[in-house]
């Protein structure tokens, strides 16, 4: 019994560790996105090689974040996996529908400014957050 309790303690520690890993990858992705966006102007005067390198690093770190999230999701228990999946589906659906309509608004001249992908990303992040909170409340 002692052996099993120790094993499950390891499982909990591993889940927490995976969560921290996702956080670190997400932070790294935000930083490399900022570097890819502002680096050409602020640091290397639009040097093509360095700009391409900046973008490649950003994409690479982005994929690292995806794999870390996948590992984290697989390590969660089934109820938390369901909460995560439901929130992700909600976020994807809202993002898809709103991005489509948002882009249309400019085409039909209901807005005068250029739609920004960052607005959709913020909306998707907030929707995911709301979905996670709603999921946790549902099963509380």
């Amino acid at each position: 019994m002692k052996k099993q309790t120790s094993a499950t303690g390891q499982w909990e520690a591993s889940t927490a560790k995976n969560g921290t890993r996702v956080l670190i990858w997400a932070l790294a992705w935000v930083l490399t996105t900022a570097l890819a966006a502002f680096g050409p102007k602020a640091f290397w005067d639009f040097h093509t090689g360095l700009t391409i390198l900046g973008v490649l690093i950003n994409v690479g770190v982005g994929f690292g974040m995806i794999f870390a999230t996948k590992r984290h999701l697989q390590a969660l228990d089934e109820m938390h996996q369901k909460i995560f999946r439901d929130a992700a589906v909600l976020s994807l659906g809202v993002g898809l529908v709103c991005a489509s309509s948002y882009e249309l608004l400019e085409d039909i001249q209901l807005i005068t400014f250029q739609p920004e992908i960052s607005h959709v990303m913020i909306l998707m992040c907030l929707t995911f957050l709301v979905g996670m909170i709603a999921g946790h409340r549902k099963y509380r």
Binding site: Q4, T5, E78, M79, H80
Partner: protein, 65 residues
Amino acid sequence: MKNRLKVLRAERDWTQARLANELEVSRQTINAIEKGKFDPSLPLAFKAARLFGLSIEEIFQDGAG
């Protein structure tokens, strides 16, 4: 779906955290299952049945019937 997890746990004087550890899920998941808010998967139901030395039907009952 109804279940007897709370009763079985109480008979052994186990906390939700202890049962969660034994089934390798979170305490919140045990709480949600006990309250009937979350239905466990078949593998988790089998795991619970093995842990208590009972059949799945002795722990989980179809609430629709």
